[in-house]
Amino acid sequence: MRQILQLTCRAACYPFYRIAPPLFLLAFLLFSNLTLFAQTAVTGRVMASDGPVAGVTVTVKGTQTTAVTDAAGKFSIQAPEKAILVFTHVNYKAEEMTVTGGNMEVTLSSANNSMSEVIVVGYNTTKKATLTGSVSVVKGADLVKSPQANVSNSLAGRFSGVILNNRSGEPGYDGSGITVRGLATTGNNDVLVVVDGVPGQIGGLERLNPNDIESISVLKDASAAIYGSRAANGVILVTTKRGKTGKPTISASYNHGFSSPTRLPEMADAKTYAAISNEIAYYNNKAGGMNQQYSDAEIQKFADGSDPLNYPNTNWAKTTLKNSTGQDQANVSVAGGSDNIRYYLSSGLLSQDGLYKNGANKYNQYSFRSNIDASITKDFKVSLYLSGREEDRQFPASSSSDIFRSIYRAYSTIPAFYPNGLPSGGIEGNNPAVMATNAGGLNRNPGQVFNGILKGSYNISAIKGLSVDAFAAVDKSWYFNKTFATPYLLYSYNKNTDIYTSRIVGGNNNAASLNESQKNQTQLTTNIRLNYANSFGQHNFNAFVGYEQSELKRDSLGASRINFPTPLTPELTQGGTLATDRDNGGNSYHYTRKSYLGKLSYNYAEKYLFDAQLRIDGSSTFPAGHRYGYFPSFSAGWRISNESFMHNVAFINDLKLRGSYGMLGNDNVALFQYLNNYTFNTQVVLASGTAIGIAPAIDLTKLANKQIHWEEARKTDIALEGILFNDINFEFIYFRQQRSNILAARNASIPNVTGIVNPYGSDPLVPSENIGKVNSNGLEATLGYNNRKGKLHYGASGNFTYAKSKIVFIDEAPAVLSYQKQTGKPLNTYLLYNATGIFHSTDEIAKYPHLDGAQPGDLILQDYNNDGKITADDQVRSKYGNIPQITYGILLNADYKSFDISVVFAGQTHVSQFVLPESGTVGNFYSSWADNRWSPANPNGSYPRVDTRTSASVNGGQYPNTFWLNNASFLRLKNIELGYNVTGSTLSKLKMQSLRVYLSAFNLFTITKVKDYDPEGSNYSGQFYPQQRIVNLGVALQF
């Protein structure tokens, strides 16, 4: 807790000095004009057929004054005389009632997926009934049902149109990649995250405390156009919880989870690997025979374990990893308020352990949030949202990718530890069982994020419906990174001399080394909007115009030292003293944006709906003259069920046809591409006599594109949604997107002879140019059923998304073969040879075109163009890439008396993943390959013969082929929660409002054809920290 307080203080103090003066000015000006209107306290009770209803939002119509009913259904609210109160609740139809004075009694009727639910859209809210865009919503209450602490992982399967892929389970880096309706551009596909109105808030989505989230809306279509230049990939709007008028509610929860890998590949055991080594040696020198590495007697020793010192059988994953590890989450919040001040205060703690035995991997997160809303006067409201968190990441000095790479590479024929306890050298001095511990030092990576938003809203009462909203938001983050790498000893045993020889690994130059860096970011966003909302008879208007600007600054600083005299002083000041022992670096980044925005919503009797939006965005990424982009959108809806002719159709409760069209932008490319960029490198060494040094040298790193501007997305959406028979809700969406002016680097079409050649593995020389064009389209469907039979409430819903992209233009070499073109194909496909089988004999080889030197056990590559030779012309594009074209989710929930259960399945199909393990004399083999390999002794093997190095093998990296392309479809039980709510007298004895215990799980099981690794992974060699399966026990209570 002390840490939290310190953080709050540190975070809160600094950035506010900048914006405080103008805000105080605003407050002062508005205070000085207070005018009080007559208000009376209205009380009442909200009932439904089965008793009082808690949690009903009571709003004074036309104002922002709200209250919420308590457990007894009671509410109290300040309202002017003859005001209209609106009662809304998710499970009930909205009701309106004029203030009658005295105690009001309101009865709500049940309505699943009530049309009156308020949905957060860009910069304001709308009723579901009048929503004309495609917006998916998930409530915070559902998010917390996932025991996985990373919010991005809790969304999978919940709704259509949002595709999530969890690529790694490493604590601290365990988020999901999110794409809305699949890939739509060759450029950046990142979704814009807006938290409490701040676009691109620093800190993002993943690390928010799910307990603080009221709801998440995903804008999937042109409705996102209000976010203009950043909206093309979709927008996720996060709304955090706020206090409600009423008695304070104290909520607390505690969860303990048991986390284990969803899947780890089985690797070949020692006797198999020894046999494989012999085969590899045989293929390189057939005359040498089958026992060039190990004799049969030695292989027998590997098999029987009779000599564990010299002939061990090591399961590196088992040696390095625990079966399961723990994670804890604790949260406390207080919410409540009076009519004038409402508050939501919370604090959360998350602690995750890594999977390593004696491991140094840990993630701790401490977070707080304070959302305070104050009604200063009837017309003037001020809100202050403060939130912050500490993210404490700790890792061993070796990265998880190195550790897992070593686990899969290290041979089963090498012990992890010798029988006397000394660690072995693993593979080339990488012993993952030691790398995972703090033996080689630690990497500490603490970070702090602070977000502050001050909002003001003033109702200009002289003109009905006119109001001004403004906010100023400050985001800060501080990330520190300190890696102190210390040398340690590994041993190798020489059986001929019976001597253990040590070797020093880790650190640098056999001494400790230190790397420190600090990266600070500040984002300042200010926004002001003039709103107008009014109704003239059945004509309802809601409009705003606004201005927004933001500025992002990032400064980073790094320093390193080597040759520490002792590993006991891990500080910069204590490192080696030679000039070459010291290195420092730094960088800064500055980005600005300026926007004008407006929106007009009109509807007639909530029957004919029309929305128009426009945003004009300016960005520092682009050169003067190309800076501003215009992003308009239009949408319309027709609530057919509100037509009089539909009133007789009793089984249709609601039916809406809607459509939208708009232009959205994507500006997510590197800065300064409109200039020829020249940077200093440190690669040229010159000498004078014995003095040698790195000379200053300048390289061209980026050619200018003086015309660079926005990437554009035109999005069209047509949808039909409704409710039938009271219980069935449905939504069908057809969507289409045309991406043009895609910012892409010309890579393939420019001949190298021009000298415009892009380097490998770093930023291309060519700038992003507005050249790409991709069309995508697809369908979304959602069907849900909810029912209550007495005390049993149950529901099921399914969602389905089909999203397919088609490249219209991508930079390709002029002479690329038609069937190898990317143009016309979906994004991210693979270019591979078709592997059609395995040559079992020289006879078979003779009968079919093959590579020079093909031998039995090699893959048969299809002679696709039938020219009798296997050449690069025989490669073909794969049908799918590694972003699924089809995703689906199934949600089930039920509650009966005190018990409830909710289940989320998530699945994907039409997806492929290429994985070529790093095997050979450079690494161990998946046992699926090892056990089924073709070999002279196993001429019917279903996997190709083993080779020295898969990456350079004719059966692997040399001729990448479909043998290694897996159908990565899966159906996965993403979340399940089983809960029990304590009721009745026990609860009152405990003086609690509620007490709930539950058992939940994440990634509980998976159905897939992929054999060796988690099908959600995307690593080319399968070497990554595996996704986690979490089984969790929790308790939640409320006072």
Binding site: L26, G288, D583, L686, S688, P696, L851, T871, A872, V922
Partner: protein
Amino acid sequence: MKTIFRNIFYTAFFATAITSCKKDFLTVQPTDRLPQEYILADSSLYEDYVVARYVGIRLQDKEGDGTNPGFGRGFEYAMWSSLTDESIYNNDDNTWLVQKGLLAPENTGIAGTIWGRSYRGIRDCNFAISTIAKVNMSAPRKARLMAELKFIRAFRYHDLIRNYGGVILMGDSAYNLTDNLQDDAFFKRASLKESIDYAVAQLDDAANGLPLNNDDAWLLGRATKGAALALKSRLLLYAASPLYGTGTWQAAVTAAQAVIGLNKYSLYTGGYSNLFLINDNKETIFERLYTKNANHTHLEIANGPNSYGGWGGNLPLQNLVDDYQMNNGKAITDPTSGYDANNPYVGRDNRFYATILYNGATYRGNTIETFTPGGKDSKDGPDNWNTSKTGYYLKKYMNDAYPLQNPWGNAGFQPWIYIRYAEILLNFAEAANEAYGPDVVPPGSTLTARAAVNLIRERPSVGMPDLPAGLSQAQMRTAIQYERRVELAFEEHRFYDVRRWKIADVTENKPAGGVTVIKNGSNFTYATKVALDGRHFETKNYWLPIPRTEIQASNNKIQQNSGY
């Protein structure tokens, strides 16, 4: 109403205050890069740009480990030698496909990087050449930088010519994205002769403008007059060679003599091994220097024997081992040589010991044991997956002062010598022998071919007997070929020599040989073996294939080398 308007006014004021609509709010100045104008406006920045041209871009994984590549391949994990009969690379790393004759436009292995890197380097030079007039700099300095740029550009062309034959000559323009990059002029390959003539003319210009010596105003590492003349010597030697057949041996003699006649260079006398470990000596004509934080591959761990913790990377072949003469100057195949197959490493050319680690060799205070059973550097030793497939490890270039284990950042400082005087002497000898015979002092020269070779053989630490007088021209040719093979082993000559001599169809079709050493008591028996099956060379392999991506990018307009 008045209050209302006041409120609106204040609100607007507030909005203005917090948003501070600066007119240049969207204009951001870069701080970590320079726009082009600055490079041309500041002569020292311009020179920094010129100096950077010695280093190229990397185009492949495992290339430029440490710092980016310069010319050729230099020190990389898999060295260029592993594409020849000098060595194989233990773990393939895209070298075996070349050894096995599978080189194809779509599969160029480690040989796929020269084309793109060279043309990028040429363009980068052209930018400086075409803008130097705008730079505010003294005329002599300008002339010198111009000469340097022409030298570097010619070196890039040399890299292209010796790998691809006739190349595309790009002139002096630095092309931009706004140019028509599909212009047919980009795709016309000049003849081999035109290509060499162009590069040689550029080197003549460079030699005229470059200083003779490095000094504080022209640091070591930058090209000198000698470097330009030496590269010209190499190119003209190639031009006269059978594969090229476009130049004359006389011209090659003159070019080599031009370097010799500078009287600046001499053979290093501090030991053949040491030559490759020190930066500044009279033998090195042009080199790439490395230092801490700008190092190359950590050679000792990358190539070291398994018991030392090394990875046994570039493994010398029996083919090379067998070619080392006895120290009496006789080939081991000569029955009178005194060669003992049971003691094969005794009494060999001293350069053998400086180049190759073999069973029984002393290394880092220990003895190499590649024998079985039980040899620590054999498959019976630790980390046996790193055991040499050939039974040999590389010794040349290894610096015992650098850490072998855990060397990261603390090794990889040996200079890569692009051209040294011994090569010039051998260029001279070869050309003089072909043009005038072994024992004639060519006009304008001071040496005979034989004398030039003997300078190399008789130098301290090599100490090989002189070539006898009276060799025929053909015998002399063989002697020179031997001398180049041994003297210049692992220095990126063999690959080109066997091609230009057109002997690759013999040398490169020989199996990759290794040795099996069996220990019986205290005796060893040696048996040759095939270290890597499938070594193969075809006529088309005399030149590299132009990468398929490049042919496609040219819309099939660039003429591929024949056979591919």
